[in-house]
């Protein structure tokens, strides 16, 4: 089977999942089987097919599995959001359409993505501007992550992550050699000369500044982690990663002890069932409810549409923000540990395809770009799933392609489009 036919074949399970999910929800809601779910499945398949046809024409050699994997995630997202609140499902479908538009636009207009290298400082400045912007717009739960304008909420960090990876890939392509050569080894740790170590300190400083400015541990971890991964791929020096993580831990400790809202997040993470924290405003209620919901789901889950989202007889949400950041907990509750592991498996395979594109790429910029984009994507999933499962303190990052939210879907579609562009160039014969 050729690569493109494999991609085409892979879209069928995605459409089947959408159909099965909608059917199950309809049965649960109104105890009837309706052919509307088939229509939804068919519409979804139609949209994916349209994207596939464009990929077939523009990028004949691109990785065949990325698009089906993304389609499965987007399908699960639409089903889950419809299940949580059908009015928002409409918005999610519109986001999906805009996302697909961006995806195809990136494929067609950025075919030679290496032009991005030319604008690297502009891209870096723009991305940092995007990150700082929410500071002037007001905070949500103490963190500055979104801009509200005219009824539309926009999460600039989602776009900034791509810009920053593009900048780092292009910058490190030129300087990686300088960082490694002329390095001294002290006690088995490679220390680059101070003058070349400077930029690394600057990026660390920027990450720390971000930590203080946007006051969000999760997105700082995502950005800094992506930086360290690109640095590691570029220089093959584990010591840079170790030193970087130590420096990050230092900064995180400082922020955790001095910024009250971050501190309360960490407390809630450590003691979610503490009565005082549970009852406190902005305390551990959220974390505790997340854990209850996941435990209640068990191995096989309660089934589609069976999760208890609201206290019966009242309109109070049991789980705060079930559509956006915490959708993972609803998924665990409804399709259980098995379903959630399947979902994580989809993410894992996207990451594998991304790193594969990085390995196959023929020039350093492409390798670093694909590795960086894949890392930032993987770290985003880690930060939110880790937060929901109480591995790390919970912070507000979206679950890519599944969470409700236009910025997240559109930005991640652009990210996957870049990965496809890299893999197409890498696999093109000759």
């Amino acid at each position: 089977m050729s690569a493109r036919n494999r991609e085409l074949f892979g879209l069928i399970p995605a459409a089947l999942l959408v159909t099965a999910g909608f059917t199950a929800i309809f049965i649960q809601r109104s105890a009837q089987v309706s052919n509307v779910s088939l229509t939804y499945g068919a519409l979804f398949l139609g949209l994916c097919l349209a994207a596939h046809v464009v990929v077939r024409i523009v990028l004949p050699y691109a990785d065949p599995y990325l698009l089906p994997l993304v389609a499965v995630l987007a399908g699960v997202g639409i089903v889950m959001i419809y299940r949580i609140d059908d009015t928002f499902a409409r918005g999610q479908v519109i986001s999906f359409l805009i996302g697909l538009g961006f995806f195809l636009g990136t494929l067609v207009f950025l075919r030679d993505y290496r032009v991005l290298e030319r604008y690297r400082y502009l891209i870096a400045l723009g991305s940092i501007g995007l990150l700082v912007l929410p500071r002037f717009s007001g905070s949500v739960n103490g963190a500055y992550l979104a801009i509200h304008a005219g009824g539309v909420t926009f999460q600039p960090a989602e776009f900034a992550k791509i810009g920053i990876v593009v900048f780092l890939a292009s910058y490190l392509r030129d300087t990686r050699q300088v960082l490694v050569m002329g390095a001294r080894r002290v006690l088995g740790v490679t220390i680059p000369p101070l003058k070349h170590f400077g930029p690394l300190l600057v990026v660390w400083g920027a990450a720390m500044l971000m930590l203080f400015v946007i006051r969000d541990l999760g997105s700082s971890l995502m950005f800094f982690g992506a930086f360290l991964s690109i640095l590691y791929v570029a220089t093959n020096r584990l010591s840079f990663v170790v030193v970087g993580l130590a420096m990050f831990a230092l900064g995180a400790w400082a922020v955790g002890t001095h910024v009250p809202h971050v501190h309360s997040r960490i407390e809630a993470w450590q003691h979610p069932f503490n009565r005082r924290l549970y009852e406190a405003q902005g305390g551990s209620y959220q974390v505790a409810q997340l854990l209850f919901a996941q435990a209640d789901g068990g191995v096989l889950g309660r089934g589609f549409g069976q999760s208890l989202l609201q206290i019966p007889g009242s309109s109070a949400n049991l789980l705060p923000a079930p559509r956006t950041d915490l959708i993972y907990a609803v998924i665990v509750n409804e399709i259980g540990l098995v379903g959630a592991c399947g979902l994580l498996g989809v993410y894992l395979l996207i990451v594998q395809r991304g790193f594969k594109a990085a390995v196959l790429a023929r020039d350093s910029f492409s390798t670093l770009l694909a590795a960086g984009l894949t890392s930032v994507f993987a770290l985003q999933v880690f930060v939110i799933v880790g937060g929901v499962t109480k591995l790390i303190p919970l912070t507000g990052v979206t679950l890519p392609f599944v969470s409700y939210g236009g910025s997240s879907i559109v930005a991640n579609f652009a990210l996957v489009a870049l990965l496809l562009l890299v893999s197409d160039r890498a696999r093109r014969p000759g």
């Binding site: 099965a20 199950a24 990686r176 309660r302 589609f304 399709i335 395979l349 594998q352």
Partner: protein, 164 residues
């Protein structure tokens, strides 16, 4: 819970159907990932007759070949760790291209830049009509030259030394 009593067999079946489709899909994609991994192993496997850096443990190497273990040590090269060694027993091609055995990340390197080939019981280095030349101990190569332990080979900004 009253919910449990309402469980419709059809919706349970659909949930399992959903999970089954999800996992079958995952297995289908993972199969190709595993194939890649397996292919990766065979591609780096050394030919059975090569001494090989890793296979050169005493007992396994043929008699008389124990001391003959020619390697290229990285002195400084872009994207490589200084001090790393490449086994060159069976001959290698150095260059920027994907088909080179030792890949150089240097804009001054040609895609097939130079090669080292065994001739009788010595190794010979030869420039492959590269644009910017290959330097052996500071002088530009002009025709094949035999390699001696301690020789330094420079291509662009990359420098290797030849060791036994």
């Amino acid at each position: 819970m009253p919910y449990a009593a309402l469980l419709d067999p059809a919706s349970v079946a659909l949930k399992f159907g959903f999970l089954a489709v999800l996992y079958l899909f995952l297995m289908w994609v993972a199969r190709s990932a595993l194939k890649d991994l397996r292919r990766g192993v065979t591609a780096t496997e050394l030919p059975p007759d090569a001494t090989g850096m890793h296979a050169a443990s005493a007992g396994l190497a043929p008699e008389g070949l124990d001391e003959w273990e020619p390697r290229l040590r990285v002195e400084q090269a872009m994207g490589m760790r200084s001090g790393d060694e490449y086994d060159v027993t069976g001959g290698v091609v150095l260059g920027r291209g994907t088909l080179a055995d030792i890949r150089l990340e240097d804009p001054f390197a040609s895609s097939r830049h130079a090669r080292i080939v065994p001739q009788g019981d010595v190794l010979v280095i030869e420039d492959l009509d590269s644009t910017n030349g290959t330097y052996l101990n500071g002088t530009r190569l002009d025709g094949p030259q035999p390699l001696h332990p301690g020789d330094r080979i420079r291509i662009g900004d990359n420098e290797f030394s030849f060791v036994h």
